[in-house]
Symmetry: C2
Subunit: 467 residues, 2 copies
């Protein structure tokens, strides 16, 4: 404690704390809050010298337990004091920000200058840039704009045994060295600690025009997604919500979309059609964006594509900025609404090729049935990325174990469909040892060889992202 | 020879060949042409067992000597027989192609289904997909669309000591393992041999509308680029050509752009303005793309941005598809036209932050002067990526050495400006040992550690991409 205090200052060391994320917490011997990259390097160096584990901690909004120490002697390293905007050149569409800046601050600063930082993984006010890079976080708009790593042109990170390195920078193209930038992105703190990043930005679209559409079943909804792609237009987002998800979250929909999707009777309507019975078997949430005229044109083409096939029950396409924001705010609250259903849930972010999405959605329900747990899913349909969820009563004996068994079956299903056990949350501790089912032994060996090469003592976030 | 022939068939082994690329060739003990990934793995395995170097060879259009063996005992491994389209799902915007397929075939197959494979590094009919992935090749449209790696969702590769691995696939998001896909991309055959890739595609833009504009000097042209960015529009390409480049290449410009840019008098024109004297001090080549109306709108906004400032001498904005193709075909021939000037050239693809582009362009000329060599540059202005070039007479004694010294100064300039020694061609053999000037020792150590971890015997393309 005394030596760590000498590095970061006594007011920035706490003894015996619990840290972690939404999925898991754990005890650490100490938490330190360094002020800058030099102090991060000094802390890592000290830990490496004393054979103590280092667990980098961001905003704590992760879903895989990546920030939970597994070893009570570990040192938790909070990045929250590294929150400076080192440089911002709106005219050049770029920014250099420290790891502890919240995702919302990054996005807001860009927005205030007419620019967009596209990654929108949720929990923007809590999540920190370093954490979103360490998990390579996605989000609804990844379909058009890609994931966090696609917007990182350079990284500053501390590698073992405590050295600051910078790869890339404000330059937009660089093939000089191996792509350490990409290797660190998504490595969940197991290869190094991200301390700052150079980000590229783009001009913000003038208009964002969502469409919410209800279909009579999963098959009709998935067929509509394929028609959307065949239209030759690029939606900014293609999200879906299945029936049980809508049961949980539909009640908080604003009035107009709720009516249009059949979740609520139009007040005073005498002749409601047969679907207006408070259920929406399958909902798609699309968005067209761009300059206003172009966004309108794309939206019309998407509407045509949705209307072309069978099974469309109703749709709505709000235009007023307040209505658009309300719809996305509702979407951002879906996870909480589902949790509220029974008090707890186990949710896994498997991803599959788009043509296997229907099987993954229906398979999720079958796995839930098999284990006696209510199940549902929603997520980033265009990327084939589900949030497959099993609902739990937190205090019900045996349910947690059944949910773990269900998750195991879900991972097997994702792999059988040619997918991945994690599309955007990472392996963390929850999915440790799943990669060996996804990759062949030779690929797993390469994964291990890289870990051993960059962290020979195995002290950087040990137990996480294990293959 | 007998054992290699047993793997690939005697008709697919040649003894004592020279192989390489446009920059460098070298002697190999044998060249083998395996038929599939299994045979690639068997060849790598055999070489690893017998301590023989393996040099992967693609289309030979590289600029850094990456495909030239440095050791006459090496086995050159040509990927050209791995040219199958394993799967193509136009409706799902994706393709799985083998490494030996030419970039043009990939692009054409996409185009025939209304899709775009955006990377356009040049030499499309010669270059092969595996090589463009191994170098993470860029091209003019990388400004909007990114580089090759941005379109690769999965890789099949042979790693040492001869094992096929598959990472990613037709799934669009995957954060399960370390990003081996990105690590192999751009690794120039030094970590593994790419045998196939899953590619994502996008709907092809309906219209591509270029603008060519001449400015009175580098400063006025670079100021125009910053106005273009400030316009809030995203051009598909922002290319530039400096005065000496236009001297070399301007003669082959089609009539209309040549006249508009002041490279040729309008025939019969009595009152040509003062700049119509056969020189264009600085030329920008922009492109707006998208749905037709949107592309026209963006083009108008770009034209406004170009017109707003000082120093615009003339511009042209062709719309007829034939004229558009002619302009880009001319752009693709610039490198050859520059070579023809004196018979040979040394061209380096440094990249700098966009706000340092002017200094890099002017610095290239000063370096040429200092070494007594005519110099010029052109390239991907929006990405700050120059092709800084020193013109040589192939048979003039001492010029090659002076050019090498000039390149050395150029690398130093790029680093001083916060850039990289290579934006898109790679390190190869020509830029070996430059990375240690760009990266700190700790980052270089990480680069070496990764190489040692994945290629412990150092037999995969030895001598290439050395830090």
């Amino acid at each position: 404690m005394r030596e760590l205090a000498a590095i970061v200052g006594p007011e920035h060391v706490e003894e015996a704390v619990r840290v972690g994320d939404t999925a898991r917490t754990g005890r650490a011997r100490a938490r330190v809050r360094p002020a800058d990259a030099d102090e991060v390097a000094a802390v890592v160096s000290w830990c490496y010298e004393h054979d103590l584990a280092v667990v980098p901690v961001g905003g704590g909004s992760g879903y895989a337990g990546g920030a939970a120490p597994l070893d009570a002697e570990a040192v938790a390293l909070s990045l929250d004091r590294l929150s400076a905007m080192r440089s911002f050149d709106p005219g050049l569409w770029r920014m250099e920000a420290e790891a502890g800046m919240t995702t919302e601050t990054v996005a807001r600063r860009a927005r205030e200058s007419g620019l967009l930082f596209p990654p929108d993984p949720g929990a923007a006010e809590q999540s920190q840039l370093g954490g979103t890079i360490a998990t390579n976080a996605g989000g609804p708009h990844a379909f058009k704009y890609g994931v966090t790593g696609d917007w990182v042109t350079g990284l500053e990170a501390v590698l073992a045994p405590g050295e600051i390195v910078r790869v890339g920078g404000p330059v937009r193209k660089d093939v000089a060295g191996y792509d350490l930038r990409a290797l660190l992105t998504g490595s969940e703190g197991t290869l190094g600690v991200v301390t700052a990043a150079w980000l590229r930005l783009v001009p913000a679209p003038e208009a964002q025009l969502p469409i919410a559409a209800a279909f009579e079943d999963v098959g009709a909804g998935c067929a509509a997604i394929e028609r959307v792609l065949a239209s030759g237009e690029v939606p900014a987002a293609i999200e879906y919500l299945d029936e049980a998800t809508m049961e949980a979250a539909g009640g908080s929909l604003p009035e107009e979309p709720a009516r249009a999707l059949g979740m609520r009777m139009a007040s005073g309507s005498g002749g409601a059609s047969s679907y207006a019975n408070g259920r929406a078997p399958f909902v798609l949430l699309l968005e067209a964006d761009g300059a206003r005229e172009e966004a309108l044109r794309v939206r019309d083409a998407l509407l045509d594509a949705l209307h072309e096939g069978e099974g469309l029950l109703g749709l709505t396409a709000p235009e007023a900025p307040g209505d658009v924001r309300a719809l996305w705010r509702w979407r951002a609250g879906v996870s909480h609404a589902v949790t509220a259903r029974r008090g707890a849930k186990l949710s896994e972010d498997v991803a599959v090729p788009l043509d296997r999405l229907r099987e993954a959605i229906e398979g999720t329900l079958r796995i839930g049935e098999r284990h006696g747990l209510p199940a549902c899913s929603w997520g980033h349909a265009g990327d084939g990325n589900l949030h497959s969820t099993f609902l739990l009563a937190a205090d019900h004996p045996g349910e947690r174990e059944r949910a773990d068994a269900a998750a195991h079956d879900l991972f097997a299903l994702a792999l059988e469909l040619g997918g991945t056990v994690t599309g955007e949350h990472g392996i963390g501790v929850l999915k440790a040892r799943q990669l060996r089912h996804q990759w062949t032994p030779a690929a797993v060996a390469a994964h291990r060889a890289i870990k051993d090469a960059l962290d020979p003592k195995g002290l950087l976030n040990p137990g996480k992202k294990l293959p």
